[in-house]
Symmetry: C2
Amino acid sequence: VSRWEPDARGRLERAALDLYAERGFEQTTVAEIAKRAGLTERTFFRHYADKREVLFDDSGALRDVLFNAVTDAPESATPFDATAAGLVAIAARLQDRRDYAGQRHAIINSNTELRARELTKQAALATGLADALRRRGVPDGTASLTAEACVAVFRVAFERWITEGGQQDLPRIVRESIAELRSVTGHQAT
Amino acid sequence: VSRWEPDARGRLERAALDLYAERGFEQTTVAEIAKRAGLTERTFFRHYADKREVLFDDSGALRDVLFNAVTDAPESATPFDATAAGLVAIAARLQDRRDYAGQRHAIINSNTELRARELTKQAALATGLADALRRRGVPDGTASLTAEACVAVFRVAFERWITEGGQQDLPRIVRESIAELRSVTGHQAT
């Protein structure tokens, strides 16, 4: 980022989300985003490939938070507990960006293509999570199953958090959802 | 279907899947599908909205199988057991169309847009499944959590079945995956 465009990336992101919320994602152009941010289109394209990518910029950082937590979990942690630790770590990060997360969620749910892309990103997250578990020595099938089920749990917890207006503590909701998955699956086994 | 076009729908589906597998989904036109099936484009469009819909035609029937099994599960069944019964019912149906399921899966995985659409359909399936559970009196959060986790389990089981060449029994793999979810989530709770 050039010195004379302080926080260009953040300004573009805020401008984009505001415009998507006001006018709809389809109706907003890159030119309008740049103008609202007080920057040029050229600057926009130095930071984002297209107007869609503004909404998915954070996914790399979230993935790193998740994978690091799984990798750093104690060796004694079960695959499920290691994954749960990762989900709680992601939740803490999203909690810090509550307004952004809520606004982004509403925009994505208003557009079929964005929603499909979000699901694709989540599927990739589950695949990467399964790989992180395999690197801990978790068998193949168990790794996939744990990863997919836990990403599903996270999605439910996140939806609940958003539906409740983001006022609750997301890490706590995630912990409760994990406990509930144990509960719904466990009754017969115990 | 007109009398002089016996099984037009099935012929179009087989022609489409063969062409998608041979040439790729993008490279295949409706005209080619109709020609391969010995039918007209007009007939194609009487059965399918576009060439993509041929690949998703079955999803309504699968959904009915799933929802009916959940609805018909004994009142004493837990939400998880009712859902598991639904997944096994779907598995049995797919087992009967093993070659189709394998061919379809390969085509969908070869195309980003088709894969995104498949994920969207699976998400809708989870939403509908949660509704079916709510109609059994299952509380809101439990219904969503059970539905999302179980659709995730099914996806893992299905992938395993396909990866193993469709030679194993899918209903058995689904049962094993459900048991494994109980196992990975349950150790601490027991």
